[in-house]
Symmetry: D2
Subunit: 283 residues, 4 copies
C-alpha cells in the first residue's frame, strides 16, 4: 500500500492534542511524514498530518472506526484523504480563457493532482480548448429567465460526477446560496482585484480611475456575500500612469492565473483549513 | 554656475510640443540631461526636463521672462526648480516614530535633497529624536476645542519657514480644507493600507478581521476627501494566518516607511506631476 | 495611413540632439506620441520615439532618405519600424513546453505583436502543440556529429522566413558564434537562474545544493560567452527549505515564462537598446 | 512562572519522534503553543516546540535531567531557551550605519527580543549613535599588523559579556577560522548581493558592470569559506539602466537592512536550525 494519508483536524484547543494525535498514529505503527499545527487567537486548534501508508497498521476501511472515538472526545472536525485518490475537480468558465488554459497546462504538467471529469461553461467558445485535453465540455447557456434551471443542471452534473472541488475560473455568473451551500469551502473563485478593494464588477476600470499604482488578484472560497468569503491567497503587480485599462487587464491576467493555480494546488493537497471567515494555510 | 534646472510642464497635447520645448533650450545653448514625456488618455501632455546649468544661456532671473511667451501660447502649467536650491520640507508627526526616524536617517545619509526647517507634532514625545538632528521641534498640542487654533498656528509656522512640501509622517489629525488647499499637491500623507481598501481608521485591525493575505501602504497627496487623493506609490507585504494584528503593525511599518520615503524623494526631484486625481511619476 | 513609426537612435551625446530629432519630425508635420531618452555614464545618447503615421509628411519610402543626413551628422545608429509590420519571430525549443506554451497563448491573446512563421525543435514532441496554432513546426534532430549541419539548416530556415527575432524558449543547444553573430541583439534566451549566479547547466539543482532562499530567471541577448550577454529582465521567487529540486523547477517555470514573455514583448515594441553588455529598456 | 520554553531538536528521522516529544511534554502537563516539523531529503528530523511555562511540571533546573534520556535514545541535538531570558546579542560594525541604525531602531521598538551588551567597531564614527541608546561602544581599530590581536580582544569582549549571537552589520573585516568556530551558527553576516552571485568585494559595482536588472542582499551564518555559509534569508530589488552604482548602493541599503533584521529576529526566536550548509527556517 503505497498511498499516504492526509489528516486534517480542527477543534477547541486544550492540552495534549498533539500528543493524542501523534500517539494514535504511533500506536498503529504509522510514520508521520509532515506535521503542521496552529492555534488561533480564539483558541481553535488546527493540525494537518501526512502519514506514510506503507507500514501503517490501519487499513483505509478501519481508519474512521479507530479514529472516531478520539475525535469525539475532543470535539474534532476532521477529514482524511488518500494520495492515491486525487480529488475530482470541476472548472466553471465563461469566455476568458487565461485561467482555464493555465490550470489545464499545469494539470498536464503534473502540478495539480486531480481528476477533471468536466468543464462547464455558459458559452461554447472554449469547447475545443477543453476537449483537446480529453475533458468533457458542457455548454449550458444562461439567460435571465433560465438562470435557476441552468444552475440546477450544473449542480446535477457536479453531483453525477461526484465532484469534490469547484473552481470558478472567471465564471461570470453569480451563484445562488443553494449552490454556495452545497460546495461550502470547496468552491474557489478568482477575483481580479486585491480584496476588499474593488469587490464587484469591473475592478480594472475602477482601479484605473482611482489611479492605483498596484493591482492584484484574490482567490477565495465563495460565501453568500459577493467577494466576501475566506481569502486563500493574494498577489499584486506594480503599474504606472502609462498603463491603460487594457494594460491592467493584461498584467492582471498574469496575477490572476498565478494566484488561482496556487490556491487550487493548496486545496488539492488539503493544506487549507477554514477558520470562520479566514483561512489557515499550511504551505 | 553648477546648478542644474528641472522644468516640468503640462498642457493640452498638440503637435510640436517636444520640438518647441527642446528648441527653446537649444536656442539658449542648453544641454538636456534627461527628458521624460507622457500623453494621457485625455490628451494632456506632460514633460519633465533636466537641463545642465553649466553653459546655459539664461540666468536664473531671465528664465521666466524668456519662457513665458512659449508657455502662454501652449497653455502650459509649468514649474522650474534649481538643484542648488533644495526644497524646504516640514514633517508633521504624532507619536509613531518609524516614518519620521526613517526620513531623518535618509536625510542624514544624503538620500533626500531637502532642507528641514521644522518638525511639528501634537505630542512632545519625539522632540529628542528630532533635536538630535539639529532640527527645531514644535510641540503644538491639540484638543477638540483648540483644533482650529492649533492648525492655524501650524500654518503660520509653515508659512514663516517658507515650506515647499509638508509630509504627514503618521500625523493622526485630519486637516481642514483650508490647510489642504494651501498645500495642494505639496502635502504627502502615508496611509497604512493599500488604498482604496481600508481607507479611514484602524486598517490593520480591519485587515486582520477580513483575513487578507497581503497588507500594504499608500503614499498620496492629500485632498479634501479622506484618503482619496492622488496616489503616488504603493507597496505590499505578504502575511499569513499566523500574523496577529501586532504582527501586521510591525510588518506594515516596514512598508509604510519605504513607500513614504520613496514618494518624498520623487517629489523632491520634481518627478511627480498631478493629473486630476492621478499622478504621472517619471522615475 | 494608420500605421505609426517607432524610431530608435543611439549616438555620442552632445547638445541639441532632442531638439534636432523632434524638430526633424515637426518639420515633416509629425506628431510624437511618446518619447523616451537616456544618456549613459559613458555619454552615449539613446532615444526612442513613437510618431503618429496619420498626417506625417514622410512616406515609408522617403523616411530613410530624409533622415540619413541628420543621422550621419551625429553618428547615429538608428532603426525605424512600422506598427503595421509586425516583426517575424521564430521560436527554438527542445522538450520543455512551458515557455513555448505561454508565448503561444499570449500571442493568441494579442499580447505579442508578431508573426510566427516557424517553430524549430531538435525533438518532435511539441509538434502538435505548435501546429494547433497553425504554425509550421520543423523537427531538426541533432547529434554530436550533425550539430554543424543542423545549425546550418536552422539558419537557412530563419533566413528563408526573413526572421527578425529568434527566441530560445528553453532550447537546450549551445549555438555557434556564427549563429550568434547572425542574430546579434535579436536572439533572446531565457536562463533559469538569476544571472550571474548559476550560469551554465542545471541551475535548480545547484541552487538547491547551495540552499538559496530565492530562485530566479534571466532573459538576455545571446553573446559568444555562455549566459553572459546583455540582460533584459530578471525576476525571482522566494523558496524555503521545504522546496525540493522538483519544487524549484515548478516554481521556476512560473518565473521563466513571465520573464521571457515580458522581454519578448519589450523587444517587439522596440523598447530595448543595447549599450555594450547592458540594455537600455524604455518601459 | 510566566516564561515559556522553546525546544528545538534535530536527529535522524524514525517513526514516533513527534509522539515521543509531545508525550514527554504532556506527561509533564505541558501545553504546546506551537509546533513546527520538517524531515529533510537526507532523513534528518527537525522540530521546534513552544511550550507554555504556566502549569508545566518541569522547572527550569529539572528540564535537562528529565529530557536527556529521551534525547540520547534518539541521538538528538537539542536546545532549550526561555522567553524570559533574551539572548545577548553583540553587533560588529565598521562605518556604514544603515544596518546598525535599523537594528537599534527595531530593538527600541520592541521588534527584537534581545539584550545588546555591546557594539564593537574598528572605527570610532558610530559611537554617538550607539551610546544614545545606552549601549557600550568599543572602538578597537585594526591594522594589518594588529589584526590577530584586535580579533583576540573582540573575542574576549564577547566572552566577558556572555554573548549568544554576533551580528556583522556591514563589518568590513574578514574573521579568522578561530572566530568563526567560536560562534558557529551564532554569527550572522549580511552580504550585499544575492549569493552566490557577487560573493566577495564590491558587489554593487560588479552588478552594475554586469548590467543586472535585480540586486539583492543575503543574510547567512558565517563559515570558514567567504560568503559561503548557510543562507538564512534573501531578498531583491528591481533596478534599471538609469540606476548608477550609487543608486544601487542606496536601493541596496534598503534591502540589506530588511533582510538582516528579519534574519536576526528569526534567530532570536530560535526559528532557524542549521542543516549542513542549508537552513531550516520555521516562520
Amino acid at each position: 500500500m503505497s498511498s499516504n494519508l492526509r489528516l486534517t483536524v480542527s477543534c477547541p484547543d486544550r492540552k495534549g492534542l498533539i500528543s493524542a494525535l501523534s500517539s494514535f498514529i504511533s500506536m498503529h505503527d504509522g510514520n508521520i511524514l509532515s506535521a503542521d499545527q496552529y492555534v488561533s487567537d480564539e483558541a481553535t486548534f488546527f493540525m494537518r498530518l501526512e502519514i506514510e501508508g506503507e507500514g501503517f497498521g490501519l487499513s483505509r476501511d478501519e481508519f474512521a472506526g479507530a479514529f472516531r472515538p478520539l475525535a469525539r472526545r475532543h470535539g474534532m472536525d476532521w477529514h482524511v484523504s488518500h494520495t492515491d485518490t486525487p480529488k475530482k475537480m470541476a472548472i466553471l468558465v465563461s469566455r476568458y480563457d487565461h485561467c482555464l488554459t493555465d490550470l489545464l497546462w499545469r494539470w498536464d504538467a503534473g502540478e495539480l493532482d486531480a481528476e477533471i471529469p468536466l468543464v462547464v461553461s455558459n458559452h461554447p467558445d472554449l469547447a475545443p480548448r477543453v476537449e483537446a485535453h480529453g475533458i468533457p465540455f458542457h455548454h449550458l447557456p444562461v439567460t435571465k429567465e433560465t438562470k435557476a434551471e441552468q444552475e440546477s443542471r450544473v449542480l446535477d452534473l457536479l453531483s453525477e460526477n461526484e465532484v469534490d472541488l469547484v473552481v470558478l475560473a472567471r465564471y461570470m455568473q453569480i451563484l445562488t446560496p443553494k449552490f454556495v451551500d452545497a460546495y461550502r469551502d470547496r468552491l474557489i473563485n478568482i477575483h481580479h482585484s486585491f480584496l476588499p478593494a474593488f469587490a464587484g464588477a469591473d475592478p480594472y476600470r475602477r482601479a484605473h480611475e482611482r489611479g492605483v499604482k498596484t493591482i492584484g488578484a484574490t482567490a477565495h472560497y465563495v460565501s453568500e456575500e459577493l467577494d466576501a468569503g475566506p481569502i486563500i491567497h493574494q498577489d499584486v503587480a506594480h503599474v504606472s500612469h502609462r498603463d491603460t485599462v487594457d494594460d491592467l487587464v493584461r498584467l492582471g491576467r498574469e496575477v490572476e492565473r498565478r494566484v488561482l493555480a496556487r490556491s487550487v494546488r493548496l486545496h488539492l493537497e488539503d493544506r487549507i483549513l477554514v477558520d470562520g471567515n479566514r483561512t489557515v494555510v499550511f504551505e
